[in-house]
Symmetry: C2
Subunit: 344 residues, 2 copies
């Protein structure tokens, strides 16, 4: 509350009988180019250090029109995927002298819109967003303003923006083909209700894998679940897949939490994995290699996602590639474990 007034630029200037201008030049390492004598520079720098001077970033940001801050908007920082990516984003940003402001949208497009504007008011220099994909308007706004931003994980396929994503399509395609290659013929998919590009891609990859093996995708083998209530819905989903007339012998889960909850349910129903049904997961949790059975997963390169996002954003912010958008589609990696029946 009662912050004692900080030691400011003005104070150094007064104490040293030098103008604010000179002090500012020197402390921003623009002393030489502004012909400040070596002696004066030394005096200022030493005095500043001695008194523990640190610039007020709000003031600096206000006058420079930038804040050395980047905004990160994600669905939920508590999700391991996003927290991993956030970790590398923050690390890279920190190395470049940026601090990151983050906010979770909780998959609410309205909140996401507000957050975008709130971040802009706070004068962030750039934004990294894993969008709900329901904010066409805000995205257009950002583009119109030529505000630097990059999307990751979720993007707007029909908009020309910078983004970094993984090849979701190929991810499920590879893993589904792997199951098919192991002799599983009736493969189910438990996924989320449509709306997100990665989810759509994962669905398509699954279907195309079947088609490549001359199997017609059965609608009854595809269960789309509401994200908010997946915890409850998944049991019925599995029961339907397992006990219907066309019982499946494998299930592809399109997210890590569907997979882990799915496995819980399978255990509860005493269905043997992978004997009765094989399972695989898109994305993973860090203990998936020691669960019973270890779950075959499509691994996303979280490090690369984060670092690429930051790299692209910094390019944009520096105006290096003005106009041209930069996009990156990263490959996923299959981690074959016992749950798909190969190693048992």
């Amino acid at each position: 509350m009662v912050r004692n007034k900080k030691y400011a630029l003005k104070d150094i200037a007064n104490d040293l009988n030098i103008s604010k201008t000179t002090v500012s030049f020197v402390l921003n390492n623009k002393g030489d180019e502004n012909k400040i004598s070596a002696d004066t520079q030394k005096r200022i720098k030493e005095y500043a250090k001695k008194n523990g001077y640190v610039p007020n970033q709000l003031a600096r940001g206000l006058s420079r029109g930038k804040s050395e801050t980047i905004g990160l908007i994600i669905p939920n920082i508590s999700d391991t995927f996003y927290s991993k990516v956030a970790g590398v984003i923050e690390k890279e940003a920190q190395e470049q002298g940026y601090t990151v402001l983050f906010s979770s949208s909780y998959e609410d497009p309205k909140k996401e819109g507000k957050l975008i504007h709130s971040m802009l008011n706070r004068q962030v220099d750039g934004l990294i967003i894993a969008s709900t994909q329901q904010n066409q308007k805000e995205i257009d706004f950002l583009k119109k303003e030529k505000f630097p931003f990059v999307l990751f994980d979720r993007y707007y396929p029909d908009k020309d923006t910078d983004y970094v994503v993984v090849d979701n399509y190929l991810g499920t395609k590879k893993i589904t083909k792997h199951l098919l290659g192991l002799g599983r013929k009736k493969i189910g998919l438990i996924t989320l209700k449509p709306g997100l590009e990665p989810i759509a891609q994962r669905l398509q990859g699954y279907k195309d894998a079947l088609i490549d093996f001359d199997i017609k995708p059965e609608e009854s083998h595809i269960v789309e679940i509401e994200r908010e209530s997946y915890f409850k819905e998944i049991e019925n989903a599995i029961i339907n897949l397992i006990s219907g007339k066309k019982t499946v012998d494998a299930i592809v889960f399109s997210t890590h939490y569907l997979a882990s909850q799915g496995l819980r349910v399978l255990k509860k129903l005493s269905i043997s994995v992978p004997k009765d049904v094989a399972i695989v997961s898109f994305d993973e949790l860090s203990a998936f290699d020691i669960v019973d059975p270890p779950i075959t997963s499509v691994i996303q390169p979280t490090n690369e996602i984060g670092s690429t996002a930051v790299k692209i954003l910094l390019n944009k912010m520096n105006g290096a590639i003005h106009g041209k958008t930069e996009t990156k589609v990263l490959e996923t990696k299959l981690e074959i474990r016992a749950s798909c029946g190969e190693l048992e």
Copy 2:
């Protein structure tokens, strides 16, 4: 780069032929208390809305000396424990109109110190810190400045500060006693090298549980590992515990990552859990209930930790409880699963 100048307070004032003062009063809902006529208030508000005016938070922050931002400094946002807590902190903060700036210290005291100052320069209104516990100086500085901050997870036991932690001592004590109650007599502990209060408490809880059962803690049963190299060190640690002359029949792991890596090693060494050795973990990963075997864990109340930290911080920031420090020690919960041998 070329942000077109934003629509500012001044512009509203000019367009409406009204002073900035009046506009500022009205838009801050201080119109009535400053006797601005209802008519004028309406005009200003409508005009502002129509033109999508939003205040520049840097300018506001600069003149008010506060930024509606709270800083969060944690060891690593990628760790599930911290990401969960960070999630609830951000959620609660968001509800109160605050945005959170976060940075990871990666357990580096120097970096933590820098981050604290960097946050202060950015004029955060308060700080929430899970400290490396090596920054006495900075903590004293914050106290001296009467800057609002609250510690969580790690605190400075000999300093009078606000904090919220869990009862680490009781956590390991309970879990160790549980093992003893199941007939395990030779219980090992795999933990981190000393330096952090929670780790010290967990060690003590383990020892005291043994003592309560009239068992003298054996130094050779306690292995302290370097955090940075736990991945490699843990194999030797386990081999020593298992194959020494005084073989253990149970192992307490003091963190979730030690436990999961420990289990990997035990599997690799073909040691049966819990038949040969039972294991338990302090803290957990979200899949610990489906690993093989499910790992008995001491659960930390992440929601409560986060929300309590924010509550205390807001109290401090509002000067409600000036002077008096507020501390909270939360209870852990035992989640009994198969790895401790009870349910097999």
